[in-house]
């Protein structure tokens, strides 16, 4: 009587892993196509307001960003808690916007310049005073296409 089966030869065959790289590569390509590179690291807190009549930004290369919000906790000591403007990777003043727009314009091809858009990423609790100042500066810099970045809100 054989109660115990012999172990040898009856082991489960190993799972074939030859196609694993292909599967991973497929995942990789999926993420490469659907995502975009992060533009900057935020130095300000931004919670975007919500709206329903949204338009999607089609050409990312034509967009320059302006961030406005309260500085993150680690910058509170040096920059205070009042709303600040962030351009590229650093804090800026309202006066810096014109040179920033000029630099952005310089880095684009000539035929693309009229289509450039400025995206305003502003925290929803910001006061309008600072936003109006930014808009005046943008008008002076002749960057007239703007988009108020916002989140999707469900229809009431």
């Amino acid at each position: 009587m054989r109660r115990f089966k012999k172990k040898t030869g009856k082991e489960l065959p190993p799972i074939p892993t030859a196609s694993l790289p292909d599967v991973i590569f497929m995942l990789l390509f999926f993420f490469m196509v659907t995502t975009t590179m992060r533009e900057v690291s935020y130095k300000v807190n931004i919670k975007l307001p919500s709206a329903t009549e949204l338009k999607k930004l089609e050409k990312k290369s034509l967009v320059s960003y302006i961030y406005v919000g309260e500085p993150l906790q680690q910058y509170e000591k040096t920059y205070g808690i009042a709303s600040r403007i962030q351009l590229n990777d650093q804090f800026a003043n309202v006066e810096d916007i014109q040179s920033y727009i000029a630099a952005e314009r310089e880095s684009r091809a000539e035929e693309e310049r009229p289509m450039m858009i400025t995206s305003l990423k502003v925290d929803e609790n910001t006061r309008m005073g600072i936003v109006s100042d930014i808009k005046q500066e943008l008008r002076k810099a002749a960057a007239l296409n703007i988009i108020y970045s916002s989140r999707k809100q469900e229809e009431r």
């Binding site: 991973i24 009549e53 929803e124």
Partner: protein
Amino acid sequence: MARKCPEIPAASLADIAFMLLIFFLVTTTMDIDSGLERRLPPWADQTEDINKQINERNIFIILVNKDNDLLVENEYTDIRFLREKTKEFLANPHNDSNLPEKEPVYVPYFGEVMVAKNAVISLRNDLDTQYKTYIAVQNELIAAINELRDELAKQQFGKSYDKLKEDQQEAIRIIYPSRISEAEPQKK
């Protein structure tokens, strides 16, 4: 017969692919940027008061104060009713004498149409108004214009505005232009 090449070891290929995958997961974001599109007026050194040249019935005044309350045409209004009021102002269906006057204009596809040519929405906010409220008001105004355009498109072409051809959209834009004027916030 040529000597067979030894097979390239493929066991670590999965690890390399994993590393690439993790790199992309960390450095990229998935969110698509979207928002309300607006066009600023060009900069003029001396901003002339356009309100003076416009007849009072043609102008729709919205004031937002520092406590985020709305005053629409001298009436305290909740934001929920702003869209209806704006639509009524822009369309003026019964030719009310308080609402904007209309003039006949020739529009392709439509022929002679009565259009409220001089209607302007004027938006003024306080320096301390919250950005959230400002966006909510902007959103309602854009929504009102979009709804009117959509209704007209359905009535005339049986399709929604987004699905129309470029010149058809152009015709509808003549009938319902988007004219929102933003005054600078009042300094105290």
